[in-house]
């Protein structure tokens, strides 16, 4: 068939398909609500797209002009984008993810999560005990000014716990920027053959252990524990999970098993990113509690520790049981 005849025969189809792409492909939700559409019906689009692909293949095979082939190719590419785009995100789906999918994902990665937990807990306990035994060890990690500043944050007379100056709102912003950045970086640095998450998690452990131990020594244990008890439920578990996600990624790089290394990276990178979404939400929650609840100084210790216990229980239950009924459904 000559090119001219080919074009006249199929021109209308191409025009219809182009019109559909222009009008309905970009905004599918709005398109579905629009009942006045009189062009190519949505249900016929896949057929039209497949015909177009066939015509493109024919055009190439028969050596039609490069311009025509390029035009059909561009049209096909647009069709391909509309056909194979990922599904639209739904709010209900996000809710389901945090409640059920995320805990399932954490349990599915139990191995790296345990490793990450050990990497966090062992340095924490070790440094706590070390500073209890030899109090001067704290100077290895912090300068005298830093220590003084830290002590003044938990001074018994302060009516705001855990901060020297600044309003709740300012600290909320600070926790969001600082803590979530650390969490996300912990995951991403897994690509450095595991050095990143190991260092980040272990260093956090050492730091927290030493600070807690020093404040305990200095007689500021009560305000300190009252401050950290509640938000640590989300914050510490989020650090451990981010570390686990980073370890997963580095394992894909170091021991991909039977998969190609790049396939292993893509697959585990995605799992890690899903974990990171959860970590993000947890740290957001932690920042909120830390900024607006933890700092309240006048509440009696019993209320503070009661709420903290409830939060720890909630997090544990959520991670342990969340999404367990999925398989039953």
């Amino acid at each position: 068939m000559r090119q001219e005849l080919f074009i006249t025969r199929h021109r209308q189809e191409w025009a219809d398909f182009t019109q559909w792409l222009d009008a309905r492909a970009a905004k599918p939700r709005r398109a579905r609500a629009d009942r006045n559409w009189r062009g190519l019906p949505d249900e016929d689009v896949p057929v039209a797209y497949r015909r177009l692909c066939q015509q493109l293949a024919l055009a190439r095979r028969r050596g039609y002009s490069p311009q025509l082939v390029a035009q059909l190719q561009a049209l096909m590419q647009r069709g391909h984008n509309a056909m194979y785009r990922p599904p639209l995100p739904h709010w209900r789906r996000a809710f389901e993810f945090f409640l059920a999918d995320f805990p399932c994902l954490v349990r599915a990665e139990a191995g790296v999560m345990r490793a990450s937990l050990l990497l966090f807990l062992l340095p924490l306990l070790a440094s706590f005990v070390a500073v209890q035994v030899k109090p001067e060890l704290i100077h290895a990690l912090m300068s005298p000014q830093q220590i003084a500043q830290m002590e003044s944050m938990y001074a018994v007379a302060a009516n705001k716990l855990g901060r020297e100056s600044g309003t709740d709102w300012m600290m909320f912003g600070y926790y969001i920027f600082n803590n979530i950045s650390i969490g996300l970086r912990t995951y991403a640095s897994g690509l450095l053959a595991g050095i990143g998450p190991v260092l980040a998690v272990a260093f956090n452990g050492v730091m927290i252990g030493m600070v807690a131990s020093h404040l305990q020594n200095a007689g500021l244990g009560d305000p300190f524990w009252r401050f950290v008890a509640a938000h640590s439920a989300f914050e510490l578990s989020a650090i451990v999970i981010a570390g686990g996600a980073g370890l997963r990624l580095s394992l894909a790089l170091l021991v991909p098993g039977r998969r190609r290394r790049v396939d292993a990276l893509v697959e585990d990178g995605r799992r890690g990113a899903r974990l990171c979404l959860g970590v993000f939400a947890m740290l957001l929650m932690a920042a909120f509690i830390e900024a607006f609840w933890s700092s309240i100084g006048w509440l009696p210790a019993s209320v503070k520790f009661g709420v903290a216990g409830a939060l720890w229980l909630l997090v544990a239950l959520w991670l342990w049981r969340g999404g367990k009924d999925r398989n039953a459904r």
């Binding site: 068939m1 000559r2 090119q3 001219e4 005849l5 797209y49 497949r50 692909c53 066939q54 493109l56 293949a57 050596g63 039609y64 002009s65 490069p66 311009q67 025509l68 390029a70 035009q71 190719q73 561009a74 096909m76 590419q77 391909h80 984008n81 194979y84 785009r85 990922p86 995100p89 600044g166 309003t167 709740d168 709102w169 300012m170 600290m171 909320f172 912003g173 600070y174 969001i176 920027f177 979530i180 950045s181 996300l184 970086r185 995951y187 991403a188 640095s189 690509l191 450095l192 990624l249 790049v262 990276l265 893509v266 990178g269 995605r270 890690g272 990113a273 899903r274 990171c276 979404l277």
Partner: protein, 226 residues
């Protein structure tokens, strides 16, 4: 290394051609985005400066959004194009040619942390130069790549209605060249048309302006006009 076009076979059995973008346009796009981010933050500073410490908190949240969420949200919402990429006609797509999803966009942008090491995207540059399709580490892990958006030209226009067989039989590649000339002629100056038509004198048998008209006629004949 030399051919940066990736060909992906779609389920319909047709090859998609994906022209991979190199480090230079990508760096430029990043620079434009960086400018936009900076100006967003500057605007925030001016607005929130009056609010004291509360404003500082809101500013820090905005800083987080600009640093971490800006590329993810732009790529997720605008079909793989941040404003900088749009300006340079680039697009992020999945390696199989499908549009980039939210999750892949998250992965490739979180991995910037590693690509930036040890300074100024050096790891990303090395990875981009070593990879046949210019992917940085984040792209490798996310399974994505950055491509040039093809420019679509308008419908083919043949200026001549006449049809005439060529002076001697033409090879398929020569036929394609003649037809391509006829379709592109509208974008060329008359002098250039004559220059090109003179090269094809074995098909037309003449020279000059008449050769151009004759070549149009040959193209018409090849396209099926009789």
């Amino acid at each position: 290394m030399l051919d940066t076009v990736r060909e992906v076979l779609t389920p319909e059995g047709v090859a998609l051609r994906l022209p991979a973008a190199g480090p230079v346009p990508r760096a430029l796009a990043w620079a434009i985005d960086f400018g936009i981010r900076l100006s967003l933050l500057t605007a925030c500073t001016m607005l929130l400066g009056a609010l004291g410490k509360t404003g500082m908190g809101v500013y820090l949240i905005a800083l987080f959004a600009v640093v971490w969420l800006y590329p993810i949200v732009c790529e997720g919402m605008f079909d793989g194009q941040t404003p900088g990429k749009r300006a340079l006609n680039l697009r992020v797509i999945a390696s199989d040619g499908a549009p980039v999803g939210w999750l892949a966009s998250c992965v490739r942008n979180l991995m910037r942390t590693v690509d930036m090491l040890p300074f100024g995207y050096a790891s990303g540059l090395v990875s981009g130069l070593a990879d046949p399709w210019g992917r940085r580490l984040g792209d490798l892990v996310a399974g994505t790549m950055v491509v040039h958006v093809p420019r679509v030209r308008d419908a083919a226009i043949i200026t001549s209605e006449a049809a005439q067989p060529p002076a001697q039989p033409l090879l398929p590649t020569e036929q394609a060249a003649v037809v391509a000339f006829a379709e592109r002629a509208a974008q060329l100056t008359p002098e250039r048309q004559i220059e090109l038509a003179n090269l094809a004198d074995m098909a037309t048998g003449t020279h000059g302006a008449e050769g151009v008209q004759r070549l149009f006629a040959v193209a018409g004949w090849l396209l099926g006009k009789r």
